[in-house]
């Protein structure tokens, strides 16, 4: 009998990500895993659990909570933390606003996205974390296409495109000065479709928001938003019941839904495979300008 010594692409991506997650645990003193409640950070947590099995994940999770999360996200997060037996730290944007550390945007399109960056940097500093694992992918957005697995940030948490180190083979330079840190992106090479296929194949539990459901929504600038008390609707924006699912889950004020009948993961995969709009096409925060992601990254956003 001859053996087949090749992996399918999902297994190869899994192996690459596990390698990088282990590399972080070995190379850094105090890493942390960024957890947003979205599918990418759920995947990251799942891969971390795989990487250290049968031991527990040897670093805590950090959630930057804008205070505008879907309740489903928070419930899911708390359940997961309990099951995994890992520590969770929450950086609260609401608290930062209450303390006067940051000022909230006003108006119809107010978003806490910018504030998130400040709170993230503060949380990293408070925890003295020297590496933050994130679930960003290179296929998400063009400024991410050149992101490294090990992304160097200066003492202000800023990303300088010119200052990034070349990455060859699987040798990752994690050297830094005091006060600097790294953002590490183990699932850089996954696409949206890869993530869905893998989550389905591995039967990973996800928040119900990702599957089609009935919800009160309204349309703003072509984006379907959930009707919640954290968004002020303009007079002409009418609420309708729609069957929707979310492709990404972030702050309720800027996460767009898509009309969908996909109420199982298999149907979601089918939709993703044939869809014609990018995943972040529904994110109001990316629509602010053509280079908004690049600009936010330079300020320290993920």
């Amino acid at each position: 009998m001859s053996y087949n010594y090749s992996l399918n692409h999902l297994k190869e991506l899994e192996s690459e990500s596990i390698f990088i997650i282990r590399e972080v645990a070995a190379r850094f003193e105090n890493p942390v895993l960024m957890f947003s409640g979205g599918k990418d950070s759920i995947l990251m947590t799942y891969l971390a659990a795989k990487a250290f099995h049968p031991a527990k994940i040897p670093f805590p999770l950090l959630h930057v909570d804008t205070g505008h999360n879907f309740p489903e996200t928070i419930e899911f997060r708390d359940r997961l933390i309990e099951k995994l037996g890992v520590k969770l730290t929450v950086g609260s944007v609401q608290e930062a606003i209450d303390k006067g550390l940051v000022t909230e945007e006003k108006g119809y399109s107010a978003s806490r996205n910018g504030l998130q960056t400040a709170v993230l940097l503060e949380s990293l500093e408070n925890g003295k974390y020297d590496a933050a694992l994130g679930g960003a992918r290179r296929d998400e957005e063009k400024a991410r296409a050149k992101e490294r697995f090990f992304s160097h940030r200066d003492e202000f948490g800023q990303w300088t495109p010119k200052n990034q180190r070349p990455e060859l083979w699987n040798l990752f330079n994690s050297k830094k000065n005091m006060g600097e840190h790294f953002r590490v992106f183990p699932i850089s090479n996954w696409t949206e479709l890869d993530v869905w296929q893998y989550l389905a194949e591995e039967k990973v539990e996800l928040p119900s928001l990702y599957l089609a459901h009935e919800r009160d929504c309204f349309v703003r600038d072509g984006v379907i938003l959930a009707d919640t008390d954290v968004i002020t609707r303009r007079p002409e924006e009418k609420v309708e019941k729609m069957k929707v699912r979310f492709r990404t889950i972030g702050d309720m004020t800027c996460t767009g839904a898509v009309l969908s009948d996909a109420d199982t993961l298999e149907k979601v995969i089918e939709e993703v495979a044939t869809t014609r709009i990018t995943e972040r096409g529904g994110r109001a925060d990316d629509k602010r300008s053509e280079t908004s992601m690049e600009d936010r990254k330079k300020q320290g956003y993920f």
Binding site: H9, F19, L84, N173, E205
Partner: protein, 458 residues
């Protein structure tokens, strides 16, 4: 307490697993099943292929990538809409597909690519990762970076200009980095009236040149990225060409032998010790297979100690692994209670790598401050971090002619040189030719923390 860690993740939603498990084991032609299933099942068989693209500034590299993405329907409407608007704003004729791969603001302004960008697309047969690297003379480092993990190198040539200095340089780098497969894409065939003669001349000239290189598998394809000839769809302008399209090549080139499956090498990356009641004595060595095959019961030797032991189990979250091979990430357990740590290596008995403090490399220099002879650097190799001394620069390689310059030993940005290093402790390596994972090193400057060089062990 979780007795079965999998239960954390499994959902009641997807109970019917029998069909998918079967799909894992027995390959069925996607033609036999309906669309939904083929979509779901096809990924079981999908291989990952990484390729890099090299060409000089106007060879149409961005257009080629844009064409591959566009014709394979990997472009989304909002992306297409964005580049269409930009093309119109700039007053360009038609939609400029090259805009798809333009990345950062600074380079869009300059109109050039200044860093390696990664692109993704998939067909039912394979998933592709493109390392899109710029072709400028000053950016050799990016090309080397992109080439380091590639299965295939696409080298673009303008059919009107033929082989130029940069083509030779790209081929030399592909050869140095041991990219297993090289495709010479003769582009802009539309501008030479799709003439067979142009193509044949270029093929002839490049073949002669390549005979001096260490490239085994070379393919030649006449294309027009702009018009779409022979990229994804077969050209109806070149009856004289009987080969396949570029996409056909990328989907079918045999990459199963690109890993070394002979010399078993397992660098210990991390030691897993659960310290729980259930796994009280568990001591697992986590890492990624760098070469060969390991299985339970194999007699192994541990480096650097030289002790021998037997593999008692190869473990993973998904259960015991029957055979571990590259590039799998697994956890190895040994029968004997030995103290291994990160940087050590597990190998099969009677097949040892080189164990030495003296390492000779072909070094590509990435930094604006030149290499310091007798200077000290940090060297990264597999899971080892050691320090090293640059003992000697033997010669500088002219990457346009392959000429070895013994007199010029000033090695600056983008230069390639043969260099002798002395490490503070022995490292366990194979020649880069034999194994890309155990034959590669990077050098870091301790004062700046920058990655200053990449070396291929001779």
């Amino acid at each position: 307490m979780i007795s079965d860690p999998k239960r954390v993740w499994k959902t009641a939603r997807n109970k019917d697993t029998s069909r998918n498990k079967l799909a894992n084991k027995h390959f069925k032609s996607p033609l036999q099943i309906d669309h939904t299933e083929s979509l779901y099942m096809s990924n079981q068989q999908t291989e990952l292929l990484r390729f890099t693209t090299a060409g000089s500034v106007d060879d149409g590299k961005s257009t080629l990538i844009g064409r591959l993405l566009y014709d394979s329907k990997s472009i989304f409407e909002d992306q297409y809409e964005q580049i269409k608007q930009t093309s119109e704003r700039r007053g360009e004729e038609g939609v400029n597909l090259a805009l798809l791969t333009d990345g950062l603001k600074s380079e869009r302004e300059q109109g050039i690519t200044i860093d390696v960008a990664y692109r993704y697309f998939a067909t039912p047969k394979r998933k592709f990762i493109i390392a899109d690297t710029p072709g400028h003379i000053q950016y050799t480092r990016n090309m080397v970076t992109g080439a380091s993990t590639a299965n295939v190198a696409l080298i673009l040539v303008d059919a009107r200009h033929g082989i130029i200095e940069q083509t030779r340089r790209h081929a030399i780098i592909a050869s140095l980095l041991q990219i297993p497969h090289v495709v010479l894409c003769v582009n802009k065939m539309d501008l030479v009236d799709y003439a067979e003669e142009n193509f044949e001349n270029i093929r002839e000239e490049f073949s002669q040149f390549a005979s001096k290189l260490d490239v085994v598998d070379i393919e030649f394809i006449p294309i027009s990225a702009l018009k779409g000839d022979n990229v994804v769809n077969k050209s109806d302008q070149m009856d004289w060409y009987h080969g396949g399209t570029l996409m056909h090549y990328l989907e079918n080139v045999h990459i199963g032998s690109d890993h070394n499956l002979i010399d078993s090498r397992f660098p210990v990356q991390y030691v897993i010790r659960p310290y729980s009641d259930e796994y009280h004595d568990y001591r697992g060595y986590a890492g990624r297979m760098a070469g060969g095959v390991l299985k339970k019961g194999d007699k192994v030797m541990l480096l650097p100690s030289g002790f021998t032991s037997t593999i008692s189990k190869i473990d993973s979250y998904d259960g015991e692994v029957e055979k571990a091979f590259p590039p799998m990430s697994v956890t190895v357990l040994l029968e004997d209670d030995l103290d291994l740590s990160r940087g050590d290596m597990i190998i099969r008995e009677n097949n040892t790598p080189e164990i030495s403090q003296d390492v000779e490399v072909m070094l590509c220099w990435f930094n604006s401050s030149p290499i310091r002879e007798k200077g000290k650097y940090v060297l990264l190799h597999t899971s080892q971090d050691v320090r090293c001394l640059v003992k000697e620069v033997r010669y500088k390689l002219d990457i346009n002619t392959l000429h070895r310059n013994m007199d010029d030993k000033s090695i600056g940005m983008n230069d390639i040189a043969r260099v002798v290093l002395r490490t503070t402790k022995p490292i366990f390596f194979d020649s880069y030719r034999r194994n890309r994972h155990t034959g590669s090193v990077i050098l870091i400057d301790e004062s700046t923390n920058e990655t200053v060089g990449a070396g291929m062990i001779i």
